[in-house]
Amino acid sequence: MGAQRPAWIVVLRREMGMKVREKTFRIGIASTLILVVLGIAALSFFSNRTESHTIAVVDDAGSAVVNQTAELFQTIKPDSPDKASAVHVGTEEEALAKVADESVDAALIPAPDSTGAKGWKIVADASINPALEQAVGAVVQQQATSSNAARLNINLAELSRGAALQRELLSQEQDDDGSLFVLKFVFSFMFVSALMTYGLAIAQSVVEEKESRVVEILAAATSVKYLLVGKIGANFILGFLQVTILTAIALTGLKFVDVIPDLGRVVAASGWFIFFFVLGFFAVSCIWSALGSMATRSEDLASSAIPMQILLFGAYFLSFTAPEGILKIASFVPILSSIAMPTRILDGGVEWWEPWAAASGVVLVGILAIRLSTNIYLRTLMRTNKRTSLKEALRYDHA
């Protein structure tokens, strides 16, 4: 005989096993994953993504221009500069052929200008990347100015006095509203959908056992507390795996598309999202189980679940639509805070004590909810004949 398992683990294994076999569960996971990937794709679309330009050149002067262009990119946008690299070819025809078969983005060819002076021509297939054209243009102009100045014996430094535009940013934060909006949208969706899916799964599992009357056999065989622990445990594990795996995928994706300058802050915010998910899950899971035990049929659950769904969806919409003041208040309201606080961390500018204060609120409310809901669960579980109102559930003495 093998090892005997505690009843709550037996329940947990059954719940997990049944859940992962469900088609709706798999579809749910797949659609969340698709949404996260789409979100990241959108993010990369919203941002100015880094471009790598390859330019065919026929001589060393050409590569010098390209190299200076690369340096210029670096100066303009040090965080994620566009890149420019030269591809040496023998002749002008070869360079044009490479442009035509799209193996390079452009070709830089020596060409005299209208005055007959030595100049450059940039050749591309259908369109020239504007950033590249601008940068190459600037380099060519600067080279020409400098050689003309030398030829005319003019001091270049004197010539360009006062010509440089200086730049200063008042805020240390990266002002990247588009990508931040998408990030908040993706992250709060990931976490709200997990809280919702697995919470509702607990309620459904409870009501299914009531509906199919199997609860009577289970309650005869073991303590109903173990049923509750097993159900919550199973859904917690699945939910936790889902959010951590999706977060890992999202972060890897963000690193890959390389659009977030301050990825460190996103990683930290993800940690807080997961932390608040754990706390929030335990606070709401018991409420979900109580909702399940008060219903008698799955149909009843649809209406008793509405307040919870409103609460969670409310937290979701607040996270990316609410003005800062309202979001700040929400970030301290238990359950709402599970989404609102990590969202604020993603925004930046949160004091160190604020997440901990919000977390304490969730724990406090969670403990109350667990006590109250477990009581309701134990009292109403065996009432399989009719739906129990909250008033009845609280008044009803043992079985």
Partner: protein
């Protein structure tokens, strides 16, 4: 032995059990009968620990019963219930494990039961895909898989076809023979009469008949049948009896004064040839109807 000692229970203002006492002996099939709402299910749920008694208690082998003891019982609730969308093999293993069997042992027993219940090779089928009769078989295996120390079965025969009834009867007898106390409720009184060693009848939450296996009513109210040649109208003048049925050559009468039946017999012998004189056995159905009036 499972014993109920003065168990009472109310739901709100309604008293559903009133001082219920009886015992379920090892090796005995105890039938539990009563009209709908008489309190059978409540009594059984209290025995299983699913409901608490307001007064009185249940004992097992002489000591107050514990949850641990009750969790070793086999139970079949009145409203059947298993997981419709789970394969029956997985489901039975789950119930075995919930009762403390290892996964391996639970699987082994599930296979063995499925085979002996004629469901071999169907362990991967979902419960909802089985016929009702077969679902009932799975239900009873659920109650048996952990080797229960006592069986409490609420209406195990309801909804079964005659073959399944036969199968269930044989199975229950076998369990009783193994020394397991078996308490089962049923509305099929002929079946209870045929099958049971003992009987408990509940009327409005109180025990009316207890361990009355041959179902003999008390002597005062006994009914007798007299068959003889010739006129029988002289019986009508006897104040000690009340005639309940009268046909040519045959009269059934109930005793009003003890000993009247002996007087009737000697008078009859004096008056003509007596072809039959016997006490009328009351069937359980008649007893049920009489008790529940």
């Amino acid at each position: 032995m499972l014993e109920y000692h003065g168990v009472s229970r109310h739901y709100g203002p309604r008293q559903v059990l009133n001082n219920v006492s009886f015992s379920v002996k090892p090796g005995c099939l105890t039938g539990f009968v009563g009209a709908n709402g008489a309190g059978k299910t409540t009594t059984m749920r209290i025995g299983m620990g699913l409901l608490a008694a307001d007064a009185g208690h249940v004992s097992w082998d002489g000591a107050p019963i514990t949850r641990a003891t009750q969790q070793m019982f086999g139970y079949m609730p009145e409203e059947r219930g298993l997981y419709p969308k789970q394969a029956i093999g997985d489901q039975l293993r789950f119930f075995g494990e919930i009762h403390g069997l290892s996964s391996k042992e639970a699987t082994r027993r599930a296979d063995r039961f499925l085979e002996s219940f004629g469901l071999a090779g169907r362990k991967d089928e979902l419960l909802e895909s089985l016929s009702l009769g077969n679902q009932q078989r799975v239900q009873i295996i659920t109650a048996l898989i952990h080797g229960p120390t006592c069986l409490i079965l609420d209406e195990p025969f309801s909804g079964l076809d005659p073959l399944a009834v036969d199968f269930m009867s044989t199975m229950l007898r076998e369990k009783a023979r193994e020394g397991v106390p078996v308490l089962f409720s049923s509305h099929q009184l002929e079946l209870v009469e045929r099958l049971c060693d003992e009987l408990v009848m509940l009327v409005d939450g109180s025990v009316r008949v207890n361990n009355n296996t041959t179902v003999e009513p008390d002597r005062e109210n006994a009914t007798y049948r007299l068959e003889m040649e010739g006129d029988m109208s002289w019986l009508e003048a006897n104040p000690g009896i009340s005639i309940t049925r009268q046909e040519p050559g045959r009269v059934e009468f109930r005793i009003l004064i003890p000993g009247s039946e002996q007087m009737v017999l000697s008078q009859a012998v004096d008056r003509g040839e007596v072809t039959a004189f016997s006490r009328v056995q009351t069937s359980l159905s008649e007893l049920f109807l009489a008790t529940n009036k």
